[in-house]
């Protein structure tokens, strides 16, 4: 419907948009990326507000591609490409109805006959009311736009964009500044609009993006990194890490008998249970060290089953294994170096690790096998942290450590949890509940209970009966 080829925009020496090849079909595509990644510039290039330095923008109408690179904003709007604005963009003193009607009128062919009585355009009124109904503002038709809540203004903006009868709708942060109660309304509206329009959405709220998108495109420093334009399956939306009916065997032994588990971005999730119920196997199944025989493991919506372990690691999953698993004959520093995937980032990563754990710097030339248990655990955590990971799978971090050291490890994990999501297997129930937001209880290879850690205590019978022997 809309596509760009080699689209590039430079402001002086800064490349805001860098050689972007992009195609929007009749679907909801989300454009995500950090602030300053060039999302708004990209929007401005599509709508003709800015002219690209290089590359083309094409629009498909009636099955034919037309070059619209040089079109200005009114022309792109006339073609059917409409946008909502990040900065609130309504006529404040006009009523809600007026705002929409003006937009509808502006779009119609007779928009220039302004000497006619404005109220004569019955069809525009009907259209405007229909749109207000759709965006959920019909009850506020006669309210001046400036009196709307923030969320309602966003709804109105979408209404204004819809009034132009667009084929393509570009939504620029429709949730910016919206209160949390209104987010669901906006989300429902986006989904509704997407049902009969091609939508390109810029949105910071990852949950919404995961929920509504058919496809997600990542923009970073003005460019779409290779492989970052992937199809997103909406039915698996939401979860960062998701295990679905995972069945894993060791030889003939059926260890995981259908594990369902989720970890959301930013969460710490504890996996509890007695020894031998399959907690470590769950972690090994995620890492594909012991690949599941059936079921699925998805990370950011992408299935990990069948991948090599180093590819799983490359996707951003780190492992802090039971027993630390140092490279005992390698020095502390070599252990750290081996954990950094990007050769050019090694020095920076070492700096981070040494800042976090000064003891490691003191011992950097020492063989890792000669460190104390606590120091080894610090090194194992550091390895996980500097590996450019977004999710850490941590297995029995307090095992075999003195109580004082355990609290050090706990603090290290707590500060780690500010940067990454964590799936934690931990025998010490109090530590696990302190760190985690949610928990799962495993028994006999399946999940038998789950909930919020705020709802339970370490003494709860609900947990105790599944944990003590």
């Amino acid at each position: 419907m809309l596509r760009t080829t080699g689209l590039t925009k430079r402001f002086g020496g800064i490349t805001a948009t860098d050689d972007v090849d992009f195609e929007l079909d009749d679907e909801l595509t989300s454009l995500i990326g950090p602030n300053g990644a060039g999302k708004t510039t990209f929007f401005n290039l599509l709508t003709g507000v800015l002219q690209p330095t290089e590359g083309t923008v094409e629009f498909r109408r009636n099955g034919e591609w037309t070059d619209i690179t040089d079109a200005d904003p009114p022309e792109t709007a006339q073609l059917g490409i409409h946008r909502s604005f990040q900065i609130t963009n309504v006529f404040p003193t006009s009523t809600v109805l007026e705002n929409v009607r003006i937009a509808a009128q502006a779009h119609s062919d007779d928009s220039l006959q302004f000497w006619r009585n404005v109220n004569a355009f019955e069809e525009h009124f009907e259209e405007a009311h229909a749109i207000l109904d759709r965006v959920g503002l019909d009850g506020k038709a006669d309210v001046p736009a400036e009196n709307l809540s923030h969320g309602e203004k966003r709804q109105l903006e979408v209404g204004i964009a819809l009034a132009g009868d667009p084929d393509v709708l570009l939504l620029d942060e429709p949730n910016a500044g919206v209160s949390s109660e209104d987010v669901d309304d906006i989300k429902a509206l986006i989904e509704d609009v997407a049902s009969d329009h091609a939508v390109l959405l810029v949105e910071h709220n990852v949950d919404i993006v995961m929920d509504v998108s058919d496809r997600i495109v990542v923009l970073n420093q003005g460019a779409v990194p290779r492989g970052k334009q992937h199809d997103h399956h909406r039915r698996h939306a939401m979860s960062f890490l998701e295990l679905e009916d995972v069945q894993t065997y060791y030889g003939q032994s059926h260890v995981l008998q259908g594990v369902d588990l989720e970890v959301d971005e930013g969460e710490v999730v504890a996996l509890l249970g007695r020894n031998g119920v399959g907690k470590t196997t769950t972690i090994r199944s995620i890492l594909q060290l012991t690949p599941p025989r059936s079921g699925d493991v998805r990370f950011r919506g992408e299935s990990l089953v069948g991948k090599d372990t180093h590819e799983v690691a490359g996707a951003g999953i780190g492992w802090i294994p039971e027993g630390r698993r140092m490279f005992a004959r390698l020095s502390v520093e070599e252990n750290l170096r081996a954990a950094v995937p990007d050769a050019t980032a090694v020095d920076e990563a070492l700096g981070t690790a040494y800042d976090t754990f000064p003891i490691l710097q003191e011992r950097r030339g020492q063989r890792a096998g000669t460190l104390s248990g606590g120091q080894q655990q610090m090194l194992a955590i550091a390895r996980g942290l500097i590996g450019d990971n977004d999710l850490l799978l941590i297995d029995e971090p307090s095992e075999g450590l003195a109580p004082q050291i355990v609290s050090d490890v706990g603090r290290a994990l707590l500060s780690a949890s500010e940067e990454v999501s964590i799936l934690l297997v931990e025998q010490k129930l109090s530590l696990a509940l302190d760190l985690a937001n949610r928990f799962y209880v495993m028994d006999h290879g399946t999940i038998i209970d789950s909930g919020e850690t705020a709802d339970v205590t370490a003494e709860d019978e609900r947990l105790r009966r599944h944990l003590s022997a």
Partner: protein, 341 residues
């Protein structure tokens, strides 16, 4: 009793005569250099991958034959010393690359399929490849009549045809006397050790290899493509095996022949086991140990103190037996390394 006294007398003679002692040490060093070249490839492959590559000796033998053919083909026999050494080094590099390629193909197409199976599968596979390669070369050699002196390159013995005159004799510096070829061997041995040590300890890829040796799963979970490091190590190990064949071709005690494959394999295994599985340092030390003992054995034979011709093999395998009794994991071996559980 008399014989024992004679040996004692000779030993006394050796250790009271510095020049003779130095000559034996130099020879020991040269032998050690050859051993370390023979065994390094095996120890890399064995150490990292737990794969016992019985085709290792065949790779060395192919390296020797191909190097002989190449050197004769470019007419090195008529070249001067400097030129022939340059050609020799170029040939060695070529052979390294060719064997590394063969090793890559073998690992990717055959060996890789068997990592998950018990070691007997790999042993049968590499042993089968060894026999196939050896018999194929035997056919080629017989049909071309290479060993009968009728081959078009005329290499009845490539060693004699292509070793430059300057490398054939011996040199006396003061009281010390050494074989010229030993200088080249020691240089190559040192270069081999330094190159492998640098690769393992000073490069990022070497770090990945060592991490993979210690804990394959942990290395993979840190994002290291362990499978790929296996292929690279197998290629390097095979390449070194071939390169070793190039210098063996010129050494008077080895030379080129089909049985070279087996002749190389046995001492290589002894060194890898004595040094400790997976330990490159162990391989270097064991090479020195075996080289020195070999040199002293040769010296004892030359003095006539010992008349048993199998003395070299006896002593080399004697070291193996002693080591297996005293410290089964070798000089620098680590518990569990190379252990298939």
């Amino acid at each position: 009793m008399i014989e024992h006294l004679l040996i004692l007398g000779d030993l006394l003679d050796l250790f009271t005569s510095p020049s003779r002692l130095i000559a034996v040490l130099i020879e020991g060093l040269a032998k050690a250099s050859l051993y370390v070249m023979i065994a390094s490839g095996l120890t890399l492959i064995f150490g990292l991958m737990d794969v016992i590559n019985f085709a290792h000796g065949a790779f060395t033998m192919y390296g020797a034959y191909m190097a002989g053919g190449l050197i004769l083909a470019v007419g090195a026999a008529e070249m001067g010393l400097a030129m022939v050494v340059v050609v020799f080094l170029l040939v060695m590099l070529t052979i390294f690359l060719v064997l590394a390629l063969i090793g890559t193909v073998m690992e990717v197409s055959l060996v890789r399929r068997l990592y998950e199976y018990p070691p007997i599968f790999q042993i049968l596979l590499t042993f089968g490849i060894a026999i196939t390669l050896e018999e194929f070369m035997r056919m080629f050699v017989e049909f071309q009549g290479i060993n009968n002196g009728q081959y078009r390159f005329g290499w009845e013995t490539p060693r004699l045809e292509t070793v430059p005159t300057a490398l054939r004799g011996a040199t006396d510096i003061g009281l010390i006397r050494f074989e010229n070829i030993h200088v080249l061997e020691i240089l190559l041995g040192v270069v081999t050790v330094v190159a492998i040590w640098t690769f393992l300890n000073r490069t990022r890829y070497g770090l990945f290899v060592r991490a993979g040796v210690e804990d394959e799963e942990m290395a993979a979970a840190l994002g290291i493509n362990v499978k790929q490091t296996f292929t690279v190590v197998f290629a390097i190990g095979s390449g070194i095996a071939g390169a070793a064949g190039v210098i063996l071709m010129w050494d008077p005690l080895w030379s080129v022949s089909v049985p070279l494959a087996l002749a190389v394999l046995l001492p290589a295994f002894v060194i890898v086991i004595v040094g400790g599985l997976g330990s490159f340092k162990g391989t270097v030390v064991a090479s020195l140990l075996v080289g020195m003992i070999d040199a002293f054995g040769t010296w004892a034979f030359q003095t006539g103190a010992i008349t048993f011709t199998g003395i070299d093999d006896l002593m080399i395998f004697g070291i193996l037996v002693v080591m297996l009794i005293l410290q089964p994991r070798g000089l620098f071996g680590v518990e569990g390394q190379g252990d298939h559980g």
